[in-house]
């Protein structure tokens, strides 16, 4: 109909943050460059909103022809809210594309924030060119309107769906509304039947019909079906990188790796630089260092164990995880007291929209997780787990043919609770405001073993109990370019052992304080400094027999009756450290010199440590960087090792390591990147067992038990080729070329140490199929551990101990057979209105490889036999979440 032509108002048809595009060119447009090598799951904490709209010039030709068009654009918004790029995704030609581009490039948005920091993002914007009707000579009174009011929820999780467009009808000028952060919308429409359409990024198109009465309000709740069930991370932001190597995994990657039993922390073992642990143990062997030299933190506080029973589930519920930072070496001055690597598990705030939770049940344990906002700016999250394997284990333990009984009762539980005050999750605190949190967590492991009968002449009873509790508070303050963080904490550890007639108990109380201050002095200078204080009181008591070889020189094979003795010991220790580092940026080069100084009081003695560290990074070009580090690292001996003789050596000094690394990272495609890092670590003055004694002037002797005689070095190359999470696929290839050697001071040359594995290859991939299925695979290959070959030219019988000695070749001159194993996993999600049922089948060692985990010999040491690894092992797990 002829009439006045005018532009229709251009509406924010929808602003949706797009997921990362796949290599196959899915609908996503641009994703952020991954410059963050660490384990962190970035979260969009503030969505951008359109602040300045610019009207596009209607193409004259199209106007004359009465044509309309919808132009879909991918708009990249810079960290300051300006439009830094725009591209047409779905164009219409005839001048529409150019006009839309010109207008959008002049838009101004409020800055998006990722992890609370302004960050560039990409969104999809649809520019509508519509023709307005010519004005009617007589304007009829408006008909009475109806109101459609409602809330949009994600089906299966009840997550609120913001920034979704709700329309009534298909017409270009049909009334529509945009849902707010709580998923709520309000739509004024003409009475009658409304064909509702809801369009939201990441969700399938939702359509329904509502009959709306004039002057009345109809309230609805719509459950939108996610396009990708369980897909959580939608935007990645730039997070400044400091360390040379800090591995990062998406939350998706953390939870769906085959062979990890769905335990996110176990995924650490698939990184470069981490040697394969035997069986399914959770031991972290990082760059040839002993497991005790890699420390584990939870929210910055050291915890004594990461896994129940050393190889069980991790002691923190996976739902609590916000990030895992893994530093195989070269970590910053923020961390200390370790000469190996660092694992720092960070927890997250509770939900800010509504209550959520899940219940996990399997044949080993059950766990619950619950999170909810309880007041404005206050959220709570709690989790608990308890095993019941003690009730089921007797059913699968082999029966003793001689009629004896073997009772093995492992029990574990853990809990976590966190309260946050201040900004909600996904919200940025105002400048000058504070946030605070309190996190309490703990873990308890009990192992009872009772063996009786079976023709044996003595019953066996073992009762092990370990527990720990921590309460960590946090206060964060940010004003301008200054960030301040204070983290006081207290903890309690308990370890008891009852072994037949032996009893021992160790109570450990600790308190500490961390303070971190960061100041962005200028665009080229950022300074960070802090203190790290730790006080520890250890009270040990035991009732044990007189210890042969520890208290007197025993005769081989001696098995005398002795008196029992009561031992008690109180040990106080304090370790105070201060650290500082600055980021100096000069164009593409960033240099970070750092320094950490500590002063420790250990059983009345003092130890000093000065640890200079340096990192450098050169961004050669977009997507390419060269990086390197060098630093000194020191670790305090265990206070137990520092006990007076004959149990320890109070003169032990700090263990030390000199760590260096050099590498580069290259982005190959939008979603594929490679990181190659070479390293050389030299550890020295390490604490090792010794049988040395000191003869005193009166003829008495002092056994040393431990000495700083250990020397070690590790060098190699780590390669991480990674395909990041897209809608259908994620995966990586991790390869480590490694050499780990050690020797005792005084020896001429280095030899392999027990952790050496020359080649370690891990290939991981997971692919999402239709209908809520997801399949994944993990293949591992590792060089066999060093072994010392058995030779048998003759029998060597030790008459006194009634045992045979082995004749062996050169120490660690051979290896166990290489390890290789394929694990598969299939996940299926069943989506219900308000909750989701997830199930997985995780099959370890699919082709039943006969791997060798250890060897043993016959009693005369004539022949060697192998201990096999786990056979094919299917595990089924089920989890319901809401």
């Amino acid at each position: 109909m002829p009439g006045t032509l005018a532009f229709a108002p251009v509406r924010p048809w929808f602003i949706a943050l797009v997921a990362m595009s796949s290599a196959a060119g899915a609908e996503e447009v641009v994703r952020r460059v991954e410059v963050d090598g660490g384990v962190h799951v970035p979260v969009l904490t503030r969505a951008p909103s359109l602040q300045k709209f610019v009207q596009a010039a209607y193409p004259p030709g199209a106007l004359a022809e009465g044509r309309t068009a919808d132009i879909a654009l991918a708009v990249t918004i810079a960290a300051d809210g300006s439009v830094s790029g725009a591209a047409v995704k779905t164009g219409a030609g005839r001048g529409f594309d150019e006009a839309a581009l010109a207008a959008v490039r002049a838009f101004k948005f409020s800055p998006a924030e990722v992890d609370g920091v302004p960050a560039p993002v990409t969104l999809e914007y649809v520019y509508h060119f519509t023709l307005a009707e010519a004005p009617q000579p007589k304007v009829a009174p408006p008909p009475p309107q109806a109101t459609l009011k409602g809330q949009l929820l994600a089906r299966g999780s009840r997550n609120r769906v913001p920034s979704a467009t709700v329309r009534c009808g298909d017409d270009a000028d049909a009334p529509e509304a945009l849902s707010d952060e709580d998923g709520r919308f309000l739509l004024k429409v003409a009475p009658g039947v409304c064909r509702v359409k809801v369009v939201a990024n990441g969700f399938r198109l939702f359509e329904t019909s509502e009959t709306l009465a004039p002057g009345e309000t109809t309230e609805v709740v719509y459950h939108l079906l996610p396009k990708a069930i369980g897909y959580e991370t939608v935007v990645r932001g730039a997070r400044e990188k400091k360390e040379v190597v800090r591995r990062t995994l998406e939350r998706q990657e953390l939870q769906k790796i085959p062979g990890s039993f769905g335990d996110p922390v176990r995924v650490l073992q698939n990184f470069p630089g981490v040697a394969r642990a035997p069986f399914i143990l959770g031991t972290l062997i990082v760059r040839g260092a002993s497991p005790s030299q890699t420390l584990t933190f939870l929210d910055g506080v050291k915890i004594p164990i990461l896994f129940h029973f050393g190889g069980g589930p991790s002691v923190v519920n996976g739902e609590f995880l916000d990030r895992i930072d893994f530093f195989p070496g070269g970590f910053g001055a923020h961390y200390g007291r370790a000469v190996g690597g660092i694992v720092d598990v960070g927890t997250r705030k509770g939900a800010s929209d509504t209550y959520h939770g899940n219940v996990k049940v399997d044949v080993e344990d059950s766990s619950v997780f619950f999170e909810a906002p309880v007041a404005n700016g206050v959220s709570v999250a709690v989790a608990a787990r308890r095993s019941y394997v003690d009730a089921l284990l007797p059913l699968v333990l082999p029966k003793n043919a001689n009629g004896g009984s073997l009772l093995v009762l492992p029990v574990y539980w853990d809990y976590q609770a966190r309260v946050d005050v201040g900004a909600k999750r996904g919200e940025t605190k105002a400048d000058g405001a504070s946030t605070a949190s309190v996190m309490a967590f703990g873990s308890d492991d009990i192992m009872k073993v009772v063996a009786t009968g079976a023709g044996g002449n003595i019953p066996v009873s073992l009762d092990l109990h370990t527990t720990f509790h921590r309460v960590v508070a946090g206060w964060n303050y940010r004003k301008g370019n200054v960030t301040f963080q204070l983290t006081p904490y207290v903890g309690y550890d308990l370890a008891t052992i009852n072994l037949g007639g032996i009893t021992a108990k160790l109570d450990e109380y600790e308190g500490g304080l961390r303070e971190d201050l960061a100041v962005e002095v200028s665009p080229w200078l950022t300074a960070r400094a802090g203190v790290d204080l730790l006080f520890d009181h250890l009270a040990g008591s035991a009732e044990i027999p007189v210890l042969s070889d520890t208290q007197y020189v025993a005769f081989p094979g001696a098995d005398p009756a002795t008196e029992t003795q009561k031992i008690s010991q109180q040990i106080d220790s304090f370790d105070g450290a201060a650290f500082a580092e600055v980021d100096l940026k000069a164009g593409p080069v960033t240099v970070t010199p750092g320094f950490r100084a500590s002063h420790a009081f250990l059983i009345g003695q003092t130890r000093y440590a000065l640890e200079p560290r340096l990192w450098a990074r050169y961004a050669v070009r977009e997507g390419t960087a060269v990086k390197g580090s060098v630093g000194l690292y020191q670790q305090t001996p265990s206070v137990v090792d520092l006990e007076p003789p004959p149990y320890g050596n109070p003169n032990l000094g700090l263990e030390k390591a000199f760590q260096t690394s050099l590498g580069f990272e290259q982005r190959l495609t939008d979603v594929i990147n490679v990181d190659v890092t070479g390293y050389y670590n030299r550890r020295y003055e390490n604490v090792v067992n010794t049988d040395r004694t000191v003869v005193n002037a009166d003829g008495s002797q002092t056994p040393l038990m431990y000495a700083n005689d250990g020397l070690g070095r590790a060098y190699g190359l780590e390669v991480m080729l990674r395909h990041e999470v897209t809608k259908q696929f994620f995966g990586w290839v991790a390869y480590t070329l490694n050499r780990a050697e050690s020797k005792v001071a005084g020896q001429d040359s280095y030899g392999l140490n027990q952790y050496d594995q020359t080649h370690i290859l891990t290939v991981v991939g997971s692919y999402r199929l239709p209908w809520g299925f997801e399949v994944g695979a993990r293949f591992r290959y590792a060089t066999g551990n060093p072994s010392t070959p058995l030779q048998h030219p003759y029998d060597l019988f030790n008459v006194d101990s009634n045992s045979f000695n082995a004749t062996r070749g050169a120490h660690y001159s051979s290896r166990l057979a290489p390890f290789h194993q394929l694990d598969l996993r299939i996940d299926k999600s069943f989506l219900f209105q308000n909750w989701t049922l997830g199930a997985y089948l995780d099959v370890q060692n699919v082709y039943n490889a006969q791997n060798v985990e250890a060897t043993f010999t016959d009693y005369r040491r004539r022949q060697e036999y192998t201990v096999p690894g786990i056979p094919i092992l299917p595990i089924l797990g089920v989890k319901g979440s809401f």
């Binding site: 001689n402 003789p645 043993f856």
Partner: protein
């Protein structure tokens, strides 16, 4: 549960992949025990030359050699001493061969050795009097090599080397030389079992009881609690450590197996005392024959002896 399953699978697997050679079944050349008499050369003084004279006292070495499959063949042997306890064959620097010869299965008794200057002249076996390196007392070398420099007694390694056919065994025994560092210290005496019980009945050494069927047959020692000796050793700080013998008996047979190869001693807590009870089973492939049983007792401080018994087994 998965870890429990893994544990169960591992236990099952470990039980079936190992050797079928049971240590209680003696089927080839073995040295089952060796002893010195006296088991400990004890000097009452540590601080004058009288100790050296005592340490040069003669001893008798007896070894229990079994060779069931040898059909009475000749077994070559030699007896060596050396300074280092790490020298498991006593073939390193400073090692001395005291005697050599041939013997048959059973007890090998070495009372004397040929004189080095005249092989036809036999001298008492005096390991503590040996010299090395042109005159250095061997015991001095032993102290030099000892991590504890003789604090637990001077422990002289003696190795009996036996060879028959292509079978060869080096059996190392420590001969202990002690001086009285503490007033409470007393010399060790050889542990001797009063006798054995078979199915609860006395089992004299000249008896040949009949055993019929697949068993098991209970075997245990006669009560010997009154023979256990209390003793004292010095701690590193030269304080007395009071200990008491807990004998360990090793049960062996040339057919079948014992349910417990070694009985007695303490549990792995070092406190609980284990019983002496074991059961002999002839095994599925046994045939009617006389069976030899050995019970070797050790007192945990170098003393050792054994009893030998026979029985006739039929299906």
């Amino acid at each position: 549960m998965r870890r429990a399953l893994v544990l169960a699978l591992f236990l099952s697997a470990a039980g079936c992949v190992g050797s079928q050679d049971n240590p209680t079944n003696v089927h080839d050349l073995r040295v089952l025990g060796a002893s010195f008499e006296p088991p400990e050369i004890f000097a009452v003084s540590c601080y004058d030359d009288s100790a050296l004279a005592v340490f040069a006292s003669p001893v008798v070495m007896t070894a229990l050699v079994a060779d069931p499959a040898g059909a009475g063949r000749s077994i070559d042997y030699d007896l060596r001493v050396c300074a280092s306890q790490g020298d498991t064959t006593c073939t390193g620097d400073g090692a001395l061969t005291l005697t050599r010869g041939s013997t048959g299965p059973g007890e090998l008794v070495v009372k004397d050795v040929p004189a080095s200057f005249n092989p036809n002249l036999r001298l008492p076996l005096m390991p503590g009097a040996q010299l090395v390196d042109g005159g250095t007392p061997l015991l001095e070398e032993v102290v030099e090599h000892d991590l504890y420099q003789g604090l637990g007694g001077i422990r002289l390694p003696a190795v009996l080397h036996v060879k028959a056919g292509d079978e060869e065994v080096f059996a190392k025994k420590l001969l202990v030389f002690t001086c009285k560092l503490l007033p409470e210290m007393t010399p060790n005496h050889t542990p001797r079992l009063p006798g054995l019980l078979l199915e609860g009945e006395p089992w004299p050494d000249d008896a040949l009881p009949d055993l019929q069927g697949s068993g098991p047959f209970a075997v245990e020692p006669e009560d010997f609690q009154d023979r256990l000796e209390p003793y004292v050793v010095p701690s590193y700080s030269l304080k007395p450590v009071h200990l008491s013998e807990l004998w360990i008996i090793s049960w062996r047979a040339d057919m079948g197996t014992f349910s417990e190869g070694d009985t007695g001693g303490t549990g792995f807590d070092g406190i609980a005392v284990a019983k002496h009870h074991t059961e002999w089973t002839p095994g599925p492939d046994a045939t009617e024959r006389d069976v030899t049983f050995w019970a070797v007792v050790r007192d945990g401080r170098g003393g050792e002896s054994w009893l030998v018994r026979k029985a006739h087994w039929r299906p």
